[in-house]
């Protein structure tokens, strides 16, 4: 009998992999993580955290520009400018602090870190840097990379650093003056928000009818209007044809158009990182991602797949939740993934955050629903902070008043959505929410008001 060295080897140290490793170690497993670059994965190093750091700076810059209206004197708008290199340095220091925190957590939980590219030999053997490791279980957490469509010039542009993925964008030398963003998804919109706030002239080109096609319609429409108001050019229903030094050539409503930019930012979806996994013969779904069940098991016994590589939700918090489910299943705990209440946030100005069903989805599923809306403009805290663009919309099922969808647009929607996630996870109703005493003044009060609205009428409108 082979005496396996590890109980679990995790391939990839992103928010899915490192969380899975720590959880498995806490449950008593002997764990190793194989990471080819830096712990923290895309999210910490080249995704969520860096963009949020830069967006915070950008917001501050915008607020300072507006501060004169509130009576703050002594700021010369003419002299106000951005030291992009310092922005990047600050971002890097934040990232470094967080990443070093994971190294510390690994030491604390006795998780072995093996740096290198993993080549899987079979379901119990992994080769890294010529060394073979044995493990009873594998967790595949290799993530995903940007999808570069097979169109003329795109690959070439990418190689020549004319077309940038999000990782390259975050290392960019200077703020692009007239970037063209390919795509209309959350990442595209966040980059548009960032560079727009920092003074770039932005054009967004994408195929769908509008930005954020998967988000609640009224919110995405409102945000699109807001972006246009701020000077972002939005070219919807455009079919990108090719990229050359002349620019991006796209078919817009039957006409061929050229969009010239100093930088082209790529945000056209992702594809799973499957290199090194070939020997496993993992079953893939129709989109090419690793197929998993609710226990995060793949078709190979003892091999689990979490995070972007399974293509369910390309979100760090989902990857972490999946990592915990995989670790618990490996350690013989009953654990299943429930995707019904996954929150989704776009860190735009204002932010938008959603959990559960949209109006259309709820109707499609046959729910008899009530939609209750409450605007941020009737909220004390929002007014005092001069941040009144936005609203909340809650969708409740009429049978018991269960809240089945919550959509918030507000400056701090990302923080406000958490109470909705919690109450929906507990299958709470509008009656429960209306009875909940919320602190005053907070922007979260709009949630309670909307709950009153769903039952009868809101108080403050």
């Amino acid at each position: 009998m082979i005496n396996l060295t590890y109980d679990v080897i995790v391939i990839g140290g992103g928010p899915g992999g490192y969380v899975a490793a720590i959880k498995a170690a806490q449950l008593g497993a002997k764990v190793a993580v194989v990471e080819k670059e830096r712990l923290g994965g895309v999210c910490l190093n080249w995704g969520c955290i860096p963009t949020k750091t830069l967006l915070h700076n950008a917001k501050l810059y915008k607020d300072i520009q507006k501060s004169g209206d509130l009576g703050i004197r002594g700021i010369d708008k003419e002299k106000l400018n951005i030291d992009w290199k310092s922005f990047i340095a600050h971002k890097d220091s934040v990232v470094d602090r967080l990443v070093s925190g994971i190294y510390m957590l690994f030491r604390k939980n006795k998780v072995d870190l093996i740096e290198g590219m993993a080549q899987i030999i079979d379901k119990t053997h992994v080769e890294v840097n010529g060394q073979t490791l044995e493990s009873k279980n594998l967790i595949i957490a290799t993530g995903a990379s940007e999808n570069i469509p097979d169109l003329p010039g795109l690959k070439d542009g990418f190689d020549k650093s004319l077309l940038l993925n999000s990782r390259a964008t975050l290392q960019i030398e200077e703020i692009p003056k007239e970037p063209v963003i390919l795509g209309g998804n959350v990442y595209a919109v966040e980059f548009a928000t960032l560079f727009n706030a920092l003074g770039s002239n932005i054009t967004m080109i994408f195929n769908s009818d509008g930005i954020l096609s998967t988000v609640e319609k009224e919110m995405s429409k409102t945000l699109e209007r807001q972006l246009k108001k701020d000077g972002v050019k939005i070219i919807a229903k455009a079919e990108i044809k090719s990229l050359s030094y002349e620019g991006i050539i796209a078919d817009v409503k039957g006409k061929e158009k050229i969009y010239k930019a100093d930088k082209y930012l790529l945000s056209l979806g992702i594809k799973p990182n499957l290199s090194g996994l070939e020997n496993l013969n993992l079953k893939l779904n129709s989109k090419g991602f690793v197929e998993t069940n609710e226990k995060m098991e793949t078709n190979i016994k003892g091999v689990y797949a979490i995070g972007d590589v399974n293509g369910k939700y390309p979100l760090a918090h989902v990857a972490s939740a999946e990592g915990i489910v995989a670790a618990e299943n490996i350690m013989s705990k009953v654990s299943k993934m429930n995707y019904n209440h996954v929150p989704l946030v776009a860190y735009t100005f204002p932010e938008i955050a959603s959990v559960g069903l949209t109006e259309e989805q709820a109707k499609e599923k046959g729910h008899d629903i009530t939609i209750s809306k409450f605007p941020l403009s009737a909220n004390g805290k929002a007014l005092s902070e001069d941040d009144t663009v936005g609203f909340i919309k809650i969708i409740s099922d009429n049978e018991y008043g269960e809240i089945i969808g919550t959509h918030i647009m507000a400056g701090n929607a990302s923080d406000m959505i958490s109470s909705a996630v919690a109450i929906m996870q507990l299958e709470g109703t509008v009656f429960d929410m209306a009875k909940t005493i919320l602190p005053h003044p907070t922007s979260s009060e709009i949630f309670m008001e909307a709950a009153f609205g769903a039952i009868d009428k809101p108080i403050h409108i």
């Binding site: 018991y400 269960e402 507990l426 299958e427 709470g428 109703t429 009656f431 429960d432």
Partner: protein
């Protein structure tokens, strides 16, 4: 203090009983352990003892009434009793009445359990979970609407929280169980048709089934539709056994022992069971395992006025033929007089049915589920047989052995009968071997 005594759970999954007779009257003083009523359940008639001493205040049902487990059926004024120790016990070990939300009103399940015997009360205390069950608001509302007892639902949410999906799944599983009911409905609608047809000049009488008849019906259906029965038959020459029996019959008669064929047949059967253990077994279908039993409790099918009863003679292998003869008479008499305990009606590992005592010859007995075999005995008759190439008159015992063909092959059935034949044709060999 007024004590409300709820009809106790006497075990065996009995939910209701019929009060045959009150043994006390209003105003009577009763002592703890005194029998207060005779109650018929679907298994047995039993006397219910009172758990408290005092004066009978009310009798909440009349003789003939059906009472459900958990219903108050008598109240007793216990104020005359100052039982300090008991009060103490009650304080420390509170007997909680479990409240369960039912479809129709609320059923209060008595937390007291007593054995059906009249030996006295064994105070068993059920651990009752009185904690509010962890459930989501929607799950609670849904449970109420669907008439689901949320306490019975196993939650799959974090920390065992009952989610709305759990209620739906529970309800679905209930509906699946309830499904056979609709079959019954179909059948009864056939009977409605029958009633319409016979109304032309003919007549029928509808006789409600007694509890015992209902139980018999259920048990027979379960056995016949679960076990693929097969029956082996044979004729055994018991002439020598009859001579042997007659030789001692009169002697034993003085000791009040009626020596019939049955104790010998039981002995022979035990010997066969020891050689062929699959006949003293049960099939565990869930785990695909055969449960071989290393004890021999023989059920004796007995005809009583109220219907078929199967009292059990325990540890038959350790009893002599005379002891068996006594036990047969004792149990048979008490079964007929309805003076038998529930405990004496269960635990058999093999059964014998002696329809020959009434006059049958061959039968195809139905196995006493979940046993694996049953031996049927016909009437012993004189028959011409060929013995040593001569036609002689012999006493012939016809036997029918039904067995579970899932676990016992035909060859084994034949072997079992061979052993019986060998032993019953030669009583001396029987005595040597048993």
């Amino acid at each position: 203090m007024k004590y409300e005594y709820r009809f106790p759970d006497i075990g065996e999954g009995i939910h209701e009983g019929t009060i045959i007779k009150w043994l006390v009257d209003i105003g009577d003083n009763v002592n703890e352990g005194d029998s207060i009523a005779e109650v018929e359940t679907d298994k047995v008639t039993t006397e219910i003892p009172t758990p408290k001493s005092g004066k009978v205040l009310e009798l909440m049902a009349d003789a003939g009434d059906v009472i459900n487990v958990g219903e108050v059926f008598i109240t007793i004024d216990t104020s005359g009793e100052a039982d300090e120790t008991e009060a103490q016990v009650d304080e420390n070990e509170e007997i909680v009445e479990e409240e369960t939300a039912g479809v129709v009103g609320e059923v209060i399940v008595s937390s007291e359990e007593i054995p059906p015997s009249t030996e006295g009360i064994v105070s068993t205390k059920k651990a009752v979970n009185k904690k509010k069950i962890l459930a989501t608001p929607v799950a609670r509302a849904l449970a109420k609407d669907l008439g689901v007892d949320i306490n019975e639902v196993i939650g799959t949410g974090p920390g065992g929280r009952v989610m709305k999906e759990d209620i739906r799944n529970f309800k679905d599983s209930l509906s699946e169980i309830e499904e056979p009911k609709s079959k019954v409905d179909e059948v009864s609608s056939d009977f409605v048709k029958l009633e319409e047809e016979v109304s032309k000049g003919e007549s029928i009488t509808r006789v409600p089934l007694t509890r015992i008849r209902k139980t018999i019906a259920e048990k027979m259906t379960q056995s016949r539709f679960t076990i693929p029965h097969t029956t082996a038959m044979d004729e055994i020459d018991v002439s020598k056994l009859d001579d042997f029996r007659k030789k001692y019959k009169s002697i034993l008669k003085e000791e009040d022992v009626n020596l019939t064929y049955l104790p010998f047949i039981i002995k022979a059967a035990i010997t066969a069971l020891k050689i062929l253990p699959e006949f003293n077994a049960s099939l565990d279908e869930e785990n695909n395992e055969l449960i071989l039993k290393h004890f021999y409790h023989i059920g004796i099918a007995t005809d009583t006025e109220r219907g078929l009863m199967v009292p059990v003679i325990r540890n038959v292998d350790r009893k002599s033929i005379v002891e068996l003869a006594k036990a047969i008479v004792d149990l048979g008499t008490r079964a007929k007089e309805n003076k038998i305990d529930l405990s004496e009606l269960k635990g058999s590992t093999f059964s014998i049915t002696n329809y020959g005592s009434i006059g049958g010859y061959y039968g195809i007995p139905i196995i006493n589920y979940p046993e694996s075999a049953i031996l049927g005995l016909g009437r012993v008759v004189k028959k011409p047989i060929v013995r040593d190439d001569e036609i002689v008159i012999a006493k012939i015992l016809p036997v029918s052995l039904s067995y579970d063909h899932r676990i016992i092959d035909g060859a084994s059935g034949a072997r079992f009968l061979n052993i019986l034949r060998e032993l019953l044709t030669d009583p001396e060999l029987l005595l040597l071997k048993s």
